[in-house]
Amino acid sequence: MSEDLNRRVTDFSEYDAMDTETLNALLRQDCDSPDDGEPDTERLLYIMEVLAKRREKSNPSGKTTEQAWEIFLENYCPDKELAASGKKQADKRALWLRRVIAAAAAVILIVAVPVTARALSWEEVWDIFARWAKETFSFVSGEQTQITEPDRSSTEEFSSLQDALIKSNRDPSIVPTWIPDGFELDYIIKDVTPAQEVYYAIYIAEDKCISIRIQNHITDDFQKFEINEELIEVYVVDSREYHIFRNQGQLRAFWTKDTYENIISGDLSIEEMKRMIDSIGKG
C-alpha cells in the first residue's frame, strides 16, 4: 500500500505544483473527452486528491458533498426505508426523479454550503427582511389573540381581492386597483390559520399570470421568497417603499403597510408593475 502511494507521488507529483484552476480544467477535459481511450484512473484520483486537500486546507471545517449527503441521511431523513423507497420510485417518473435530484441538491447547498449574505445587495435584502420581522414581531405581542382558528372549509365567495378584505374587516386600500389589460381574475383564496392570514388572488392572461398576496403572521417563521440576487429598484410612492426584484422571468414587488406584508408577482414589465403600484389605494 505504501509502495503504491509512493509510486503515485513519484509519478504524479507534477500536479502538486499546478494551480487549482488548471487542475479543474484537466478534470473537466477528461470528463468531456470521449470514452474510448485507455482510462487513466490513477491520474484522475491523484488530481482529485490534491484538490480535496487544498479545499480542506482552505476550509478545514467544511463538508464535502459526500459528507453533506451523509449528514442529510443521518439527520434530516431519519426514515431510512422512506429514503430507500423514494429512490426506487425515482425510477418510475421523470418528475419524481427531478424531485429527488432537486431535493438532494437543495439539501447539499443548505447543509454543507450555506451562502452567506456576502454581497451588498443581499445585505440590503436581509435588512429588508429583518425590518419586516421586527414589524411583525411587534404585531405578535399586540394582536395574537385576535387570530382565529383555521377556517379552511369556508365557502365564502369574493368578487375581488378588495371584496375579500372588506368582508374580512381588513383594509381594502392596500391592494392595487389596476391590472394590466387582458388579465382576468381566476380565483381568490382567503387562508386563515392560527398564526398566518393570507389573501391571495391570481389573474390569468393566456400563458401569463399575476398574483397578489396580502398576508400577516404572528409566528417567527417568516415567509420564504424566491428571488434573484439583484434588487432592481426601490420604487417610492407616497413615502412608501416598494422593493422590486426578479424571480427568474417574473417580476415581484414587496411592500409593507401596518402589519401586512404585500407582494405582487407575475409576468409583468417594469412599467406595468409600477402602474399597478401607483394604483394602490386609488379608485
Binding site: N59, T64, C77, A103, D191, Q196, S211, Q223, Q248
Partner: protein
C-alpha cells in the same frame, strides 16, 4: 469492478468535485441564520410553522405558492422532531415522525398555484417540537424543491 466502470465512477466523482468547488464555501449548519439568494421558475414563496393547539397535539401548517399553475404543488415531506428543551444542539432532538405526500392525503395539490394545509400528530404537553419541511413545485416534468426548518414551539 471492470476498468470501464471504475473510470465512469471516477469521472462522476470528478464532476461532483468540480461542481462543489464552484460554490463558495462557508462553515455552518442548517440551522444557522443564512441568506440564500435563490430564484425558481416554479416556487414563488412558501412557509411552514408548528402550532400546538393543546392536549399534546402537534400541528405543522404549511403554504406554498407557485409562480403560476403547477402540475404539482405542496410539500413532499414533513419530519417532526421533539426535545424536552429548546436545545440548540441538534443531537438533543429526537425524530418523531415523517409525513410524506404519498402516504398523507392533501400534502400535494395538482394543477394549482396555491396550496396550504396542515399535518397533525399526538405529542406531549411541555415538550418542544419543530419540523423539517420539503416544499415542491413541479411542472412539465421539472421542478424545484426547497428544505427548511421551522422554529421550535412548546
Amino acid at each position: 469492478m471492470d476498468n470501464h466502470r471504475k473510470t465512469l465512477l471516477v469521472r462522476m466523482a470528478a464532476v461532483i468535485l468540480i461542481v462543489s468547488l464552484c460554490v463558495p464555501m462557508t462553515v455552518g449548519s442548517a440551522t444557522e441564520t443564512t441568506v440564500q439568494p435563490r430564484a425558481s421558475y416554479y416556487l414563488d414563496n412558501y412557509n411552514a410553522y408548528v402550532y400546538l393547539p393543546g392536549d399534546g397535539e402537534v400541528r405543522v401548517y404549511f403554504n406554498v405558492q407557485g409562480t403560476r399553475y403547477m402540475d404539482e404543488l405542496g410539500v413532499l415531506s414533513i419530519s417532526i422532531y421533539e426535545c424536552s428543551t429548546n436545545s440548540s444542539n441538534e443531537d438533543d432532538w429526537t425524530w418523531v415522525h415523517t409525513f410524506t405526500h404519498d402516504s398523507t392525503a392533501g400534502m400535494l395539490s395538482y394543477n394549482d398555484s396555491y396550496h396550504s394545509g396542515y399535518v397533525s400528530l399526538n405529542g406531549y404537553v411541555g415538550r418542544y417540537y419543530k419540523a423539517y419541511v420539503c416544499v415542491w413545485g413541479g411542472k412539465d416534468g421539472d421542478g424545484d424543491a426547497r428544505y427548511f426548518w421551522t422554529s421550535a414551539k412548546c
